[in-house]
Symmetry: C2
Subunit: 127 residues, 2 copies
């Protein structure tokens, strides 16, 4: 039993493992840093302590970002999406967000070489 607010608890749509996806974004630049997972307890800690806590799917344990690496994520704000299965957590990231040392986990993984839409569909030029 966590002390997550009852109203929030009823809004969460958890997966079979009891988790929701948490998108982590640098609050001032808008850069998307990583995606993590939270259960009720991890979300409760994130909402009340000023520090982001995840639930690690691989290690099956709580993981307060930065405790071992020093790469702390300080909480700016937390929003929930329309159907309750995703969170947007805006943070101030200290150091690298990714365990590889890359600034973001997507910089670490890199591009999949998508065929882009046209410049006009991307709003780059007048239509």
């Amino acid at each position: 039993m966590t002390d997550l607010d009852e109203d929030i608890r009823t809004r969460l749509k958890r997966d079979d493992a009891g988790l929701v996806a948490a998108i982590i974004q640098q609050w001032d630049t808008g850069e998307v840093l990583m995606l993590g997972w939270m259960d009720d307890e991890a979300l409760a800690r994130t909402l009340t302590t000023g520090r982001v806590t995840f639930f690690s799917r691989s290690r099956q344990e709580y993981w307060r970002k930065g405790d071992t690496s020093g790469h702390i994520q300080y909480v700016h704000s937390v929003e929930i999406d329309c159907d309750g299965d995703a969170l947007l957590v805006r943070v101030n990231q200290i150091g690298a967000a990714c365990h590889t040392g890359a600034p973001t986990c997507f910089a670490a993984g890199g591009s999949l070489g998508a065929v882009s839409a046209s410049d006009s569909d991307l709003g780059r030029v007048e239509r």
Copy 2:
């Protein structure tokens, strides 16, 4: 059997339903619009057609964003994260991203009232 590139297929870490999370971000403003889900086929279509296609968990079918609403997502770029269980899809969003009519699904869901870190931890003031 999809025509997703073999190299990409081996990098994906799918959940029990065969899906990975796809964060959708407006490419020029950095605004996070929504989170969707993709299987191999949805990703293959997204990478090759210039339009974002999801796999709907609730309807169990492919869903090319905008086909019924007109709220098309044109693909700018697709990145994978360090451990292959999340995608960052940068798009040009036409109209509202959320089915509620809100500009983003997080604007629709709203704030969970997190206790923010201090101004200094958020990098707002000199330390």
